[in-house]
Symmetry: C2
Subunit: 338 residues, 2 copies
């Protein structure tokens, strides 16, 4: 076998280097998040904290401060810090609303907020956090950064609606699938990095590089996420494995498996996705078909390509620990699925 035809193993990547570098900056972001989610109406900080304190890696605000540092910003980065907190508020607001839209039961390893406080409170606290995000952005005096995050917010909502209207659609083409994940996920990664660069006074070339990095990273991240829904288990995922399947979401692993079992499993896919008539055993069967056809691997390969694009975009930035850590993050977005 020709050695060139055997794919080199992908670098594992790492988020720890970035987390370590950004420790002080993220402590400032966290303090701001806590301070600005307060309200005299007790259920608001309670509900917000349920989700925000569950944490996760705070990838998006991490991108905002890392973008500022990667272009060489030293000392206090007040604008990027505020923009980072705004990004996390926007992200939290979309999670609160998505969990209602999807009827999700778990989020970040905890019971979803709408199941504890009700959908009404989740809708309204999402709105509150969204508005607080814009209040914070106003304080940066950067209309440009504000415009970037406002546009990202409308694009995210469009992506979510598009996904909703195309759920259960086995004929979804890959271009539309890509359009959906760009909008619902990658746009905020792109805007997070771009606004951090803008807030720190980056050159136009650097702003574009960081936006491109964020966009490619976000796509890689979502592709890996969609692979994880069939390739991982609930404990690793922090949300229910099979959620996408149970919502009938037409994600890439599913679309590839449907294509690769054409003429053989059409009735199964039609029943469980198009008609939405699922028994508890169907997820195991779908998973078997998706893994068996190599659809998860193919999805992760596509994620790897976007991770490479993300890394390539960083080449115009000065070499630094921050740039290296952002490169490692791109690989990590894919390898965390393994």
């Amino acid at each position: 076998m020709d050695a060139a035809l055997v794919a080199a193993p992908r670098p594992k990547g790492d988020v720890d280097a970035l987390v370590r570098l950004a420790k002080d900056d993220m402590a400032a972001v966290d303090a701001l998040i806590i301070a600005r989610m307060q309200s005299d109406v007790p259920v608001i900080p309670m509900l917000a904290e349920h989700l925000i304190s569950a944490g996760g890696k705070r990838l998006r605000p991490l991108l905002t401060v890392a973008a500022a540092r990667a272009i060489g910003a030293q000392g206090d980065i007040a604008a990027a810090t505020k923009l980072a907190a705004s990004v996390e508020f926007i992200h939290t607001a979309t999670l609160l609303h998505d969990d209602i839209v999807d009827g999700s039961e778990m989020r970040r390893g905890k019971v979803a907020a709408h199941l504890i406080w009700g959908a009404a409170s989740s809708v309204l606290v999402g709105d509150f956090l969204f508005a607080r995000a814009f209040e914070l952005m106003v304080e940066t005096d950067s209309l440009r950064a504000l415009g970037i995050l406002a546009t990202a917010s409308s694009v995210i909502a469009e992506g979510e609606v598009l996904q909703l209207t195309r759920a259960h659609d086995l004929n979804l083409d890959q271009a539309t699938y890509l359009q959906i994940i760009r909008a619902k996920t990658a746009e905020l990664f792109a805007a997070a990095a771009e606004s951090g660069a803008v807030g720190a006074g980056a050159t136009e070339e650097q702003v574009k590089a960081l936006r491109d990095y964020g966009m490619a990273l976000g796509i890689a991240f979502q592709l890996a996420d969609d692979a994880l829904d069939y390739g991982s288990d609930t404990a690793t995922l922090g949300k229910n494995a099979g959620d996408d399947f149970n919502e009938g979401k037409a994600t890439l692993p599913l679309l590839l498996a449907v294509q690769r079992t054409k003429g053989k499993e059409d009735l199964f896919w039609d029943r469980v996705i198009t008609k939405g008539e699922r028994t508890p055993e169907d997820f195991a069967r779908a998973r078997e078909l998706i893994l068996g056809t190599g659809a998860v691997e193919a999805t992760l390969d596509a994620a790897g390509d976007y991770a490479d694009r993300a890394k390539a975009a960083l080449s115009v930035l000065p070499a630094s620990d921050w740039r290296s850590a952002l490169e490692d993050l791109a690989d990590f977005a894919v390898s965390r699925a393994a």
Copy 2:
């Protein structure tokens, strides 16, 4: 009887004068609203148009352009026009979300959007319109106006959550009731007028006057609205009469009637509001008690006081047709209940 103790009949007021004066300005606002609610995702403009084309009087954006004109702005008022469209987007977003929160079945004389397109789409299209509002505001280059409307948005959400957590609460004090209607309704009226003034380059004294006017007008408007829910019928209202009752909302007419029938109707109120065990006949009984105790009249009296405050706030503005029309609008906010 001492003549001084007989209340003079309130002026009827009028919204037509303002609508006529603002005809061209509002045509520009409407065109902008239609242009900016477009999206490649078809359900978004469809759902948004369902609500926006049903129209109503567009009172809030009307306030924004009227504020600009009332301080003497001539010719093109591009910033105020964009802010007015933003205000309508924010208002529409909150209506979409509120109708989900309240489970309302009608809005502006039409079936509520969430019953046609589903709650998920209503949540997401609300988010989309909210984001579009901020995109539009960025174009005005006025960070101050943007901050005013961002703060209004978070205050509205707080007010809605507060109302939600205090529904079914017969012990709600009038101060908290007032806090709720200030936040959920009057704050956007205030911000609409204030931002229009700011966008048109008003003096600080004028900005404050128009904010105070909007706040008092909004309170009058909501008090009258709460009275209407018991004092009017569904056809006049454009939404279901008795909605507040059926949601167990502790509004002023209800709170006053509970207080005025203390020791006589406690079991009835406890059952229908606190416990929420309502039969279809209970609304008629509640309406009878509320009208019989003069609670609707007392609520309208309070609305009249705020209308007077609104008019008084305008005294620092130069006399003009616009100022007169705003004065008439304050009276109209109360008299439309009659």
